[in-house]
Amino acid sequence: MGRFADTFLNWAVMAQYAPRILEGTWVTIRLALAVAIAGIACGLFLSVLRAFRFRAINVFIVFAVDVLRALPPLVIIIAFYFALPALGVRMSAWVSTWLALSLVLMAFSEEIFWAGILAVPRGQWEAARSTGLSFLQTLRDVVLPQAVRLTIPPLTNRTIAITKNTALGAVVAVGEILYQAQSAYSFSYNPSPLLLGAAAYLILFIPVVCFGRWIETRFAWKR
């Protein structure tokens, strides 16, 4: 037992690297928020653009969304970070991770918003248009408020899943929790920092997962 505690809960090692992990926690929080905001905003924009039903634009949107849903996020991050410099496009590790995850969240949230827009009955469109509202007014004031409500549970879950992927940034050395924990582990050759990092994720994400659970029951589709 003593050996176990020495190995996995080594206070000296933990105390030494705790500030690094705390620093990593802030990076994770900032990265996750930046991904959530950019991804959802772009997804909403694309779904609204799709509602105009320009054929060429929609074909492009569907194609882009499909590609971003089929590729593993880590492949996209690595392509941005290691492949794009061949074209003279250089991004920092942080930007590569942020951009890749934002694009993935954009694709998923576009699909979710679009499903929500389609779920609003046609009669709502027709009624709103016949009262004299313009297309844009109908979309903004009648359709989107109803659509967004339907999309909240799936969107919350998807956003949580994708913000957890910020850990993938460790692979290209973004200084977030996992990277800090991993490098502390390599320096000290002791797994305590890994456990500390895991604890940091639990403290961050258990409330978020519970929140997602609550949202799911709160906004459950009434059948």
Partner: protein, 223 residues
């Protein structure tokens, strides 16, 4: 344009890298065939355990599911791959990935299957029991077939995510597709292998994405 072809779509490089990429592809396939059935079986156990009357079992299941859903899969993988050897448990790269994926995906499959079981009306269970089927028979022949059918889109969606997730095995040096691509990139000093790996993922997973899209739109039409 020429830089694009030379750096991203270079056939000489591709010819050199092809054997490595192919070996990586088979490893990804093997990994998928190992972790998807394992995770599904674990998820089934989780879902069945959550239907028992015992409060403690159900609480333990919720704890398990929330715990492993809160961890990013990569964090779990690092804990298993780097932490367990300190306990003298050596699983090797493939074993570590299998265990980490089992913990992660069984929670997700478990949540989905639980929702499926809950969606089957109680009357089905009561009717089956009153015809003389045992609890086990009722579950196996009446409840589960309907439960699974009700959540097919979610099961496909999760399976797609799991297949994409196998790319993180590259981090613990399991020679799957992404790892092979990075190795080939390092050998040839050219980004073509990474782009090729992306295209392989795309070709394999696009049909699944399309199928999912169809399901999602059909689901909306039902509401």
């Amino acid at each position: 344009m020429e830089a694009l072809i030379r750096g991203f779509f270079n056939f000489d490089i591709l010819a050199q890298a092809w054997p490595i990429l192919l070996a990586g592809f088979w490893m990804t396939l093997l990994l998928t065939l190992a972790v998807v059935p394992l995770g599904f079986a674990g998820g089934l156990a989780v879902a069945l355990a959550s239907t028992t009357k015992s409060f403690f079992v159900r609480a333990a299941v919720v704890g398990y599911v929330d715990l492993f859903r809160a961890f990013p899969a990569l964090v779990l993988l690092m804990l298993v791959a780097y932490g367990l050897p300190f306990l003298d448990i050596r699983l090797g790269a493939f074993g570590s990935v299998a265990l980490a994926f089992f913990l992660n995906t069984s929670s997700y499959y478990g949540e989905i299957l639980r929702a499926g079981i809950e969606s089957v009306p109680r009357g089905q269970l009561e009717a089956a029991r009153s015809t003389g089927l045992s609890t086990l028979q009722t579950m196996a022949w009446v409840v589960l077939p309907q439960a699974v059918r009700n959540v097919v889109p979610d099961l496909i969606s999760n399976t797609l995510e799991v297949i994409k997730l196998t790319s993180i095995a590259s981090v613990v040096a399991l020679p799957e597709l992404l790892h092979a691509a990075r190795e080939a990139q390092a050998l040839t000093y050219n980004a073509t292998p990474i782009i090729a790996a992306g295209i392989i993922y795309l070709v394999c997973l696009w049909p699944l994405v399309r199928l999912l899209s169809r399901f999602e739109h059909r689901q909306i039409a039902l509401h």
